[in-house]
């Protein structure tokens, strides 16, 4: 990697230097062909980041085309900083999810913090005020001290950044599995609110208009972070890449949010782009590229934090909390005055030009002169080979007769409630300010977060989901289940799904097996989204999540946003009253494969994921919404990890008040463990005033949805009888204690 040198002494572009920039010989030839000459060292740096997997999507782009991205509410699909979905009355929500996996593995606190900062900028760049954050986290084995160090660092980072900026972190998910030991996943989601006539895009129109740099000063942070970190696996040399870590300053971000939102009120703002991966380079090329114009700027004007920075370093720096604005000529002083009011640095660094090139001067010399389209669109679309992985035929087979059926369910229930993937995530979300701004109607701890839309009677429900074990066993069906399950979480909270964003976390795409997994997962998301009519409006791809040849489980994380026309129709997962009846919507099959139960009790990750009958799923979701909106029910909770038994206990213990007991009386010919702990899809556990049972059953028949009344809320114990025999009998408070403290207890240990 180049050391800081004076700009006049540019290193020569040798084959070695090309390789160090992560470009292949073929790619280098293409660059020379496209621009008609050899690039200089600085220009090579630009190509290297812009053609990196992270910025160019060269392995994934053709597949992403399969995703349904349109719908009557969609105002902006993929292609901008974030997607925009209309929620009526002149308002829209803007949202996206993005990965910060590799940086978080290297420095968990800063990696996660800057991940949150980056996704927030994607949202407010569009003119929206960020109103909610979610995050989806995957760590390795919790018994490994390294995992605990990473967990503490990541949660600290998210908490420090989100809390300081005053954007509530209202939900998320955390999974632990040994497959993430060497590659944790940190996916951050942000949602913002905008007036539909005030949406801003990354445009640089109007020849002669000034380009203004806004925000933190530029230092040597993260130079080549995006390209190198996002496109190479980890190995022993990872240590050498360490000094590229960027540090976040949430205080500056908060000022940047307020500054930008104030600027956006001015009719002289033409376009804006945040400086994310590849910093000043990608933002200027993208803005000009989007408008068919060019940009000319002078790096001597860029506010710098360090002395002696070269053009190369300034252009590729990934210093955080920076944006680029284009305003109408003559308004630059007004713009700078607003920056000054908020105490931010800023400077006019260049202007829009007619010819579609980016021309950059530094210290009186032209250092870059590149046509835009080769840089922005020139990267090859790689047709990487794919093939179905060998492991599938082995793992997909599961013979239930090999698994001894337990005589009682107490032990399994206790084990499941104390398993890191099921136990309470309170230790995590207690560290996030989830209430600031007074819009969080449903706090973390229910199926989905529900946010009131300020000054309206509407609300949005937010959830993020992916069972990567299912995706490992079958990426196509696993991805479909992720969509179905996420949508089901939204429905249980009273929302109608209106849009989806996804973050595709996979291993090394140069391996045909990984490409196959990727293709299957994208097809799965596409198929499910088409069926359920949920447009995909934004997303992100993270490849090379692989260490020493060992890839993570395919993890296509999806986040679904739902709309509640009337915020009073929100619903939570916990039981409300003693004496209420408990009902189960949906059908339980004899499915154990892929379950947390199989993992905890038999230490196996095996079989095919549970079946997903999409028609049935839709009927179940529609029925649940009908019940919520008709005020028929008191609670609704999706049955997922740990099955019906865990869902029922969670409904007993997750309320803000004292835990409530419950008794389930089940009749079934299924294996008892499958009945209680199997993870059959399309099931929702509800509770309601006893007298309403008959009407609800009648409505279920009319909707052709399986439904049964299976028990009653009350008492201080959790009891399950199957065909008249007691199968589980436990003090509910004892179950709650097991469930409640596990992650915190682990996290507090150091060694």
């Amino acid at each position: 990697m180049p050391k800081s040198k004076k700009s006049e002494a540019l290193p020569e572009v040798t084959p070695d230097v090309v390789a160090q920039h992560g470009l292949t010989v073929q790619e280098y030839k293409r660059i020379v062909d496209l621009i008609g000459r050899a690039p200089n060292f600085t220009e090579l740096g630009i190509f290297s980041v812009m053609w990196s997997e992270h910025c160019s999507y060269k392995s994934s782009r053709p597949y992403l085309k399969q995703l349904p991205t349109e719908g009557p509410r969609v105002l902006q699909g993929p292609g901008e900083n974030a997607g925009v979905v209309d929620i009526g009355d002149g308002q829209a929500v803007v949202f996206k999810i993005e990965s910060h996996n590799h940086p978080s593995f290297i420095e968990p606190h800063q990696g996660a913090a800057t991940g949150v900062g980056g996704i927030m900028r994607d949202i407010f760049t569009m003119g929206a005020r960020p109103i909610a954050l979610l995050n989806s986290l995957r760590f390795g084995d919790l018994s490994d001290p390294r995992t605990r160090y990473l967990l503490n660092g990541v949660v600290d980072g998210i908490s420090s950044y989100g809390n300081c900026t005053g954007v509530p972190t209202v939900g998320g998910e955390i999974y632990f599995d040994a497959c993430y030991n060497g590659n944790i996943l940190v996916n951050a989601f942000c949602l913002g609110l905008v007036q539909t006539d005030k949406i801003f895009l990354a445009k640089a129109g109007g020849v002669g208009n000034p380009v203004i740099y806004v925000g933190a000063k530029t230092g040597r942070d993260g130079i080549h972070g995006a390209s190198l970190l996002a496109s190479s696996e980890f190995d022993e040399t990872t240590e050498d890449k360490r000094p590229t870590v960027q540090v976040g300053d949430p205080f500056t971000e908060k000022l940047l949010i307020e500054t930008c939102l104030e600027l956006f009120k001015k009719d002289w703002v033409i376009g804006v782009q945040d400086m994310g991966a590849a910093g000043l380079t990608s933002s200027s090329f993208e803005m000009a590229g989007n408008s068919g114009t060019g940009i000319e700027f002078d790096l001597s004007q860029v506010p710098l934090r360090e002395e002696g920075m070269t053009a190369y370093e300034i252009l590729l720096s990934e210093s955080q909390e920076r944006m680029l604005f284009v305003v109408k000529k003559g308004h630059e002083n007004e713009a700078l005055a607003i920056l000054d009011k908020w105490g931010l640095d800023g400077a006019v660094v260049g202007q829009v030009i007619e010819s579609p090139v980016v021309r950059i001067n530094y210290q009186g010399k032209e250092v870059v002169n590149l046509p835009i389209s080769p840089v922005v669109e020139g990267a090859l679309n790689l047709k990487r080979p794919k093939s179905k992985p060998q492991y599938l035929s082995e793992v997909q087979h599961l013979d239930l007769t090999e698994l001894a059926e337990p005589p009682r369910g107490d032990e399994a229930l206790i084990k499941l409630l104390g398993a890191p993937n099921i136990s309470s995530k309170e230790w995590v979300y207690e560290q996030y300010d989830h209430m600031v701004r007074l819009n969080t109607l449903v706090l973390p701890g229910s199926d989905a977060a529900v946010m009131r839309i300020p000054d309206s009677s509407k609300a949005v429900a937010l959830s993020v989901d992916c069972n990567s074990r299912y995706c490992y066993l079958d990426p196509f069906w696993g991805a479909q289940i992720a969509v179905a399950e996420c949508a089901r979480n939204i429905v249980c909270s009273g929302g109608t799904p209106i849009g989806l964003t996804n973050c595709l976390n996979f291993g090394n795409p140069e391996k045909p097996e990984i490409m196959w997994q990727f293709e299957q997962a994208v097809l799965g998301i596409a198929e499910a989204c088409k069926f359920f009519d949920i447009p995909v409006v934004s997303g992100n791809v993270s490849l090379y999540n692989e260490t020493k040849g060992k890839a993570i489980f395919p993890t296509p994380t999806v986040a679904v946003v739902g709309l509640l026309e009337n915020l009073e129709n929100h619903c939570t997962q916990w039981f409300k009253n003693s004496g209420d009846a408990i009902g189960l919507i949906g059908l339980t099959l004899e499915e154990i494969s892929g379950s947390e139960y199989l993992k905890q009790m038999f230490e196996r990750c095996q079989g095919k994921p549970p079946q997903l009958d999409k028609k049935q799923e839709r009927s179940v979701q529609e029925f649940c919404l009908e019940l919520i909106r008709g005020k028929w029910i008191q609670s609704a909770h999706d049955c997922s990890d740990g099955g019906m038994a865990v869902a029922a206990v969670e409904s007993c213990i997750t309320g803000p008040e004292k835990a409530l007991g419950a008794t389930l009386n089940l009749e079934s010919t299924l294996r008892k463990d499958a009945l209680l702990f199997g993870e059959s899809q399309s099931r929702i556990l509800i509770s309601f005033a006893e007298g309403k049972g008959e009407s609800i059953a009648r409505m279920a028949r009319k909707n052709e949805v399986p439904f049964a009344i299976i028990g009653r809320v009350g008492g201080s114990r959790f009891t399950v009888n199957i065909n008249g025999d007691e199968f589980i009998h436990q003090e509910i408070q004892a179950l709650k204690n097991i469930w409640k403290n596990l992650i915190g207890d682990y996290a507090r240990q150091v060694s």
Partner: protein, 229 residues
């Protein structure tokens, strides 16, 4: 009745306070910008909201106390003006010397956001007079540095003068180690100055004052304040 909500760079509960005062209590509410050092005499009371003013860098409240508006707040308080500091506002009041003691990092070094119970120890203040009947309040906290500390003699003087106004407690009102979320000395959650016209508290009353939410105990703080005129 007219009140002001001070905005520091990094304040983030400013909108929440504004919303509660303006829309729930329908008071004439105005923003006060941190660069403003003009007299605050036109206000009946002033609120210093929560957040991370100046990023909480160095120490929470350490930098904000020097902003021009704090000169005005000090003058205002010295003349008897009523000042309510919430969370970061409390930290600023302590740093500026308007309230005794100090606020340090939480016992477990982590940010904590959750509802807690507090007991009103003194209803003889303009901020708590309506809590006589209902001395136990359920109000959320959300802070990283809420561990109250004061030197022994200071604490003694505060006790004698009934300046310790709020203490963390169990739902039933018992002040116990277990109910202390951040390691505060004596479970202290809120204190007043000698004249009782300046009050700082770590819990966020504005987060439990909107009728849309089940918890509304925070209303009592604002109602007491409004009624004190």
């Amino acid at each position: 009745m007219k009140c002001g909500v001070v905005v520091f760079p990094g304040s983030n509960c400013d909108h929440d306070c504004y919303h509660i005062l303006k829309h729930i209590f329908e008071l004439d509410t105005e923003w006060v910008w941190h660069k403003d050092s003009a007299d605050l005499d036109a206000f009946d009371f002033v609120v210093l909201p929560g957040g991370f003013s100046y990023g909480d860098y160095l120490r929470a409240g350490a930098i904000s106390r020097f902003s021009p508006v704090m000169k005005a707040v000090v003058r205002y308080a010295q003349k008897g003006g009523k000042v309510l500091g919430i969370c970061n506002g409390f930290q600023i009041l302590v740093e500026s010397g308007l309230l005794p003691g100090a606020l340090m990092q939480n016992r477990w070094q982590k940010f904590i956001c959750k509802p807690v119970f507090t007991r009103v120890e003194s209803t003889d203040t303009p901020f708590t007079s309506l809590c006589r009947e209902r001395p136990i309040l359920r109000i959320p906290i959300a802070h990283h540095g809420g561990r109250y500390f004061a030197q022994e003699d200071t604490l003694k003087a505060m006790q004698d003068n009934q300046q310790i106004v709020l203490k963390y407690c169990e739902p039933g009102g018992t002040v116990s180690e277990a109910s202390n979320p951040n390691g505060s000395m004596d479970n202290i959650a809120g204190v007043a100055n000698e004249k009782k016209n300046v009050f700082g508290m770590m819990p966020h009353p504005e987060r439990s004052a909107d009728p849309l939410w089940p918890d509304q105990d925070g209303q009592l703080i604002f109602k007491s304040l409004i009624q004190s005129f």
